[in-house]
């Protein structure tokens, strides 16, 4: 496998980085980087960490980075997670309010502990901390419950002062969305599986309306809704499929859609194959809508979607 860290890869311009990923020869990993500057979304680090953990450290070849900003990778804990030696010295900053280094979460208990520790670390207003805790909980729990990934979820997040935003990336090398959704809904390809996974009330665990006693098929819809309302980016990449929620225009009236393809988005079903799932989301803090207002909109869209799906299965009278 080969992965190249470009000078810039954020959710808005991440597509070329993903297209450049080479998943062939899965018994080794070669990491290269732009030699002038590295400025990337945490999702990039989560992806590299997730890939690297599938291999023994001696199977990972990491070139000597030249970029001035190379210390960022060490500071975010990438080399430590992969057990790779790093000759980069850097000033250890107090992480409070700045970033969450690459973190591996494998169990429900680890997640609960992480959320408790993460919230004070981010030094946010309670409303904002709640939104971020919510996003992390739902996304990581999806990995723990559905991905069947030996290494669990690899999470990384960073606060950006200039945009006053938190950017979060979560990666796993599990079974992927298509395999999960396909247990209950036929999905022709990875992109269709992503579309179904984002639809409220659809879960791979059952075809039954309302889900099972443990799963409702609502988690990803909630996260997409948070990004929609806050006019932020949100991406999912699994298998060959890729979906990106684009930023809504500020003037446009905000509206939640059950079908993710009705949102302003871009998509691709021909990316290099990612064994597992990647989710990235940006949360701009000064735009964070009051969470309870968002819930009103979610309630309306969710209930309508369930009702319409139920109605679509009604039998029609036969008039002869």
């Amino acid at each position: 496998m080969k992965i190249h860290i470009p000078n810039s890869a954020f959710l808005g311009n991440i597509d070329p980085f993903l297209r450049g990923f080479d998943p062939s020869s899965s018994d080794s990993l070669e990491i290269t980087a732009n030699n002038k500057w590295i400025s990337v979304h945490p999702i990039v680090l989560s992806m590299i960490a997730a890939l690297g953990l599938t291999l023994k450290p001696e199977k990972i070849h990491c070139e000597k980075f030249e970029a001035k900003s190379k210390h960022y990778l060490a500071r975010m804990g990438l080399f430590k997670t992969l057990n790779l030696p790093s000759d980069m010295s850097f000033i250890e900053h107090e992480p409070a309010g700045r970033f969450i280094p690459v973190t591996q979460i494998r169990t429900s208990g680890e997640l609960t502990k992480f959320i408790i520790e993460m919230i004070p670390l981010l030094h946010l207003e309670p409303e904002q901390a709640q939104t971020i805790g919510y996003v992390v909980s739902e996304l990581v729990r999806n990995v723990i419950e559905h991905a069947n990934s030996k290494n669990g979820a690899l999470l990384c997040a960073q606060y950006y002062k200039k945009s006053n935003s938190i950017r979060i990336g979560i990666a796993d090398t599990g079974v992927g969305i298509k395999a999960t959704i396909h247990q209950s809904y036929p999905a022709k390809n990875d992109l269709e599986a992503i579309q179904l996974a984002l639809w409220p009330g659809i879960t791979g665990t059952t075809k039954k309306e309302g889900g099972t006693e443990q799963n409702a098929g609502a988690g990803l819809f909630f996260i997409k809704s948070i990004a929609t309302v806050n006019r932020d980016f949100f991406i999912i990449y699994s298998g060959h499929g890729f979906y990106k929620l684009l930023k809504n225009l500020p003037t446009k009236r905000l509206h939640l859609n059950a079908d993710p393809f009705e949102d302003r988005h871009s998509k691709d079903n021909d990316l290099p194959f990612w064994q597992g799932t990647i989710v990235g989301v940006d949360i701009t803090l000064d735009q964070t809508e009051k969470f309870s207002l968002l819930l009103d909109a979610i309630r309306k869209t969710y209930t309508t979607a369930v009702r319409e799906r139920k109605k679509a299965r009604y039998k029609k009278p036969r008039f002869i």
Binding site: L111, E138, R141, A216, A218, G219, T303, K310
Partner: protein
């Protein structure tokens, strides 16, 4: 009357579905089976995720229908928690 303080089990950020399932299977359902009234007390709970609330009550609604709502009360919920409960109760009733 069965009183269940959620904070003591799940903390201020109620998101652990395993804990929700334990409360449901070990406390809510046995109490309803004995025709007891159940109070889920959300005092000091700041946030509950939809997944947590779903794991807590969806199977109760499926098992006993919406009559369960006559026997289960939600106490001291803040606005956010109330809205999450409303979402779950509403979509579960749509699907009954």
């Amino acid at each position: 009357m069965k009183h269940i303080p959620i904070f003591e089990r799940a903390g201020a950020f109620a998101e652990n579905k395993d804990i929700a399932r334990e409360i449901r299977t070990q406390e809510i359902i046995p109490a309803l089976d004995k025709n007891e009234e159940v109070t889920l007390d959300f005092d000091r709970v700041d946030v509950a995720t939809q997944s947590f609330i779903h794991a807590l009550i969806s199977d109760v609604l499926r098992k006993y229908g919406n009559d369960a709502l006559d026997h289960v009360a939600f106490k001291s919920c803040n606005e956010t928690v109330q809205k999450i409960i409303n979402i779950v109760v509403e979509y579960m009733q749509e699907g009954l």
